[in-house]
Point group: C2
Chain length 549, copies 2
């Protein structure tokens, strides 16, 4: 018999995440590098656009010690800054963060940047350096902080402040980590590029350790509306949330509690609901037993309240998706779908899909997938993600696509809570409601793609027919000319007849939807000239069609 004395102990959250750092994406020096850059950029963007500021973000990666693989990553934003009283815990205590609210942000509560700091600390021993100037403050603050892992508390190594009245604001964070730049760089560049696609209202500067600088200029000053904080929706309520809400409510009866606490419950619907649930409207919420709460939660879930509002969400919008796909992939066709808000467990979410086809998209065995969640690009663990699952479940043959094909798909989910599978935020769980919405969006975009492909096929067939006929025109004209000469003496010339027949065919072509073309030039093989002068520029589609001659 083995050891039977089992010792027990408690682990602090920092210690837990330090031991299991792989679950936050810190599994090797390549992935850790990527993850650190990602967490810092997401924090920077959240500090701006969540507060109505057009983001301007500077990312710099410098070599500190090549032999040891030590790199310093610095990200600077023009966001609202962090109040000096919160800096130590916000950067030195795991599970401490800006108050959890029901609204759309990029981060996971109190973990992201701390994991990067922890990783830097355990691999290089170096503290994080935070320089911040809160909005409306006259001072700029500098902190050097280390995390006491056993206690999960910040250790302030250095703190200073100086007057700085230039009106700027924002935060600059530097972390030194052990990382493998040469293996990580392609993903990091890709990450920055995709971030620029999803946030065209942000300006991003990126300087890599090889000294190269990349500038992603702001493409629009149209800042999406600030995500609002919303009341919880009754369909997402479980017993624990109910308890927590009752603990903090100022209401003294169930009717008031329901109509003041939840989204989509007013006094009228609260009354109707209470009748349905056989509950006394005048009962004090705090008097409810666990069994009452369990039953109330169940009833709240099943009662047909109106679905959650999506007005707290900030989707990309069809225009940004189309611009992004066109500028990056240069496809021949784009279809975008932005679904109406839907909900899972009371959390509203919106699914957006863009399908790009043909043009310069490389022909592959599978669709190229661009995943985004609350505007974060997701690059790792693609095959574990519900988005991949839904794309691979579609029978693309139904949409006239036979692989290998030049197909790219962008999917974006925005929600007050993204159900990530890991704290590394790289793949999304298989939530049935989300699956359904993605499927619908893919199908809708797919139907438009099918129409496009079908129309292209028909146009090509029509063009083939026209050309087949056109090739006989010179001979027919000659014969007809001779015939007319024989019968009428002089008759019509072969050239004239040719021109008449060409014109007839051109009219036919226009009716068939090919547009106005010059068939004479066409059969001479002069594709460009076959298109009428003023139209040439716009008629890339027609030029494409003419390729096969």
């Amino acid at each position: 018999m083995g050891s039977i004395h089992v010792e027990f102990r408690e682990l602090s959250p920092s210690e837990f995440f330090y031991r299991y750092r792989e679950i936050a994406g810190y599994s090797n020096p390549t992935r850790a590098f990527y993850q650190t850059v990602k967490e810092l950029i997401e924090n920077a963007l959240d500090a701006c656009d969540s507060h109505g500021i057009l983001p301007s973000v500077k990312v710099e990666i410098e070599e500190v010690d090549v032999k040891k693989l030590h790199y310093m990553i610095t990200v600077e934003d023009n966001g609202i800054g962090v109040s000096p009283k919160h800096v130590p815990k916000a950067f030195g205590q795991v599970l401490y963060g800006s108050k959890y609210k029901q609204r759309q942000t990029r981060g996971i509560f109190g973990l992201g940047v701390k994991m990067a700091i922890l990783y830097g600390q355990v691999t290089t021993g170096k503290p994080v350096i935070v320089i911040t100037k809160p909005i409306r403050s006259k001072y700029r603050w500098l902190f050097k902080i280390r995390i006491d892992i056993k206690k999960n508390r910040p250790i302030i190594l250095h703190k200073e402040s100086w007057k700085d009245e230039n009106g700027e604001h924002g935060t600059k964070v530097s972390i030194v980590i052990e990382g493998d730049w040469f293996k990580a760089k392609s993903r990091i560049h890709e990450y920055v590029k995709r971030t620029a696609i999803a946030t065209p209202y942000a300006e991003i500067f990126f300087k890599d350790p090889q000294g190269r600088t990349f500038h992603y200029p702001r493409k629009t000053t149209n800042l999406p509306p600030i995500p609002k904080e919303i009341k919880p929706h009754p369909h997402g309520i479980d017993v624990e949330m109910l308890k927590a809400l009752i603990l903090t409510t100022k209401t003294t009866n169930l009717l008031d509690f329901l109509s003041k606490t939840f989204q989509n419950i007013g006094e009228k619907s609260a009354k109707e609901f209470l009748k349905y649930a056989h509950l006394d409207p005048s009962i004090r919420p705090s008097k409810l037993t666990i069994d009452d709460l369990s039953s109330l939660a169940k009833k709240l879930k099943e009662y047909p309240f109106k679905p959650p509002k999506g007005n707290a969400l900030s989707p990309l919008g069809e225009e940004i998706i189309a611009i992004g796909l066109r500028s990056v992939l240069e496809p021949e066709f784009v279809a975008t779908v932005s679904r109406k808000p839907s909900a899972y467990s009371g959390h509203p979410f919106i699914i957006e899909v863009g399908i790009a086809y043909g043009g310069k998209i490389p022909v592959k065995e599978y669709p190229q997938l661009y995943r985004f969640a609350n505007k974060i690009p997701l690059l790792y663990d693609e095959k574990a993600c519900v988005m991949w699952k839904m794309v691979s479940e579609i029978n693309w043959k139904n949409y006239n696509i036979e692989f290998p094909a030049p197909l790219a798909i962008l999917i974006h989910i925005c929600s007050t809570k993204i159900p990530f599978k890991g704290v590394g935020k790289e793949s999304i769980a298989e939530v049935p409601e989300i699956e359904k919405e993605i499927r619908k969006a893919l199908r809708e975009a797919g139907r438009r793609l099918r129409k496009h492909v079908e129309r292209k096929r028909r146009e090509r067939e029509a063009m083939e027919k026209i050309i087949a006929i056109a090739k006989y025109i010179p001979e027919i004209s000659k014969n007809l000319a001779e015939l007319s000469k024989a019968s009428k003496g002089k008759g019509v010339s072969s050239k004239e007849l040719e021109n008449i027949l060409y014109s007839l065919l051109e009219m036919k072509a226009e009716k068939m939807g090919i547009g106005s073309i010059n068939i004479k030039q066409l059969i001479k093989g002069k594709r460009r000239k076959a298109l009428p002068q003023p139209q040439r520029k716009q008629s890339k589609k027609q030029l494409d069609l003419l390729q096969f001659i």
Copy 2:
């Protein structure tokens, strides 16, 4: 400009995991059901085999309220039990658990079963019921516990104990959850089946909510050696671990500290290392600065110490893998490889691989993959796992396999620390050292598979040749007989000649490695009779070969 007042707060670990329960696998009522069963079974097995007890585990799932989808999951083991003083926290406080040790177990520290309890609590409001009798105790204890999520502390709703001197011991845990049995059942059955493959020394009873009972009897009483606790290996040390080790050491100089704290460092190697690192052997460890520690950690990592010992690990072994694959898949061929211990970040690990081919394995486009980690079957997120990555990177054509093919692959990793990607323990991170070992094991098993496939091909070709010749024998015999009659008068009969030629061919066949066959029967199409009487049973291989006639 938006809101600039940011409120901050701290989250307890329970609250964190409750909010982000998807990262532990609780993303929907199907997956949550599976996850709960899994956590309870793993806890049960750990309570037995980690302490030298042959596990006997009873799993029962009962309907509590079909309309609400409430089910009670009860798992009972004959393990060492839990001391009543630890029960409340062990079942009611997240990140509290049996002391973290450098040894092979199934669980993740202090999280698994608590996540199941939390999930049950928030979906049904029901507490966990724990009945436990510690080994060598005369009392059996019953607890009903709820978790205070905000404080991350247990609330004991009920506690009682009674005398029970029957010598039994073990723990029985019941959790009521909201789950979707009909969607979850196939995975849960598969999970139990695969658990039985990896722990043939355990006996498992499983009663499902449909009232069906399944019994997986113990197939061997050969309990694998109890995983030992081991000293940390110097290659896995980071600055934080070094600090923690120095805080608890009783040694007073660096030489002693190194030679008493680490695996594979004795006094001699400690001296050599200190010389290499330019460090004073007599310095007090507690006097080292952060920079000293950072440099020491770096030096410990790069110095060529002997690799970690694998003697603390408990692999499956080639025999168990072969038995498992043969009994479940009934293949024609099995190759198993158990690699020598290796290490990543100072954690020892062993990779084991089994390849099964042909027989009753269904022909598919991809290999069927059976993944195990510390004897836990992994069923979800296959495509996100390093094991899938390595299998899909192999060019199977090099091993004479062209897909679709009947190929199944089992991979097992055991380690004192499995680098899971999520706390749901379903996929393993891409750690370069692990990738390398899996690749090597797959290649080694692949080479044996290639030989098998190659030999089969040669045998088939040889058999085809033999039959082609055999078919001419009657005619040749007739001609020869006539020839001999003509020259010698009576001569040899056609029948005799036939028999001689058949015998010659049978000798030839035996030399070609086909084994002893009766060619006369063979060309008559009587495959079974073509094999010599005593051999018939064993000669399934030969029978297979004869199929194509």
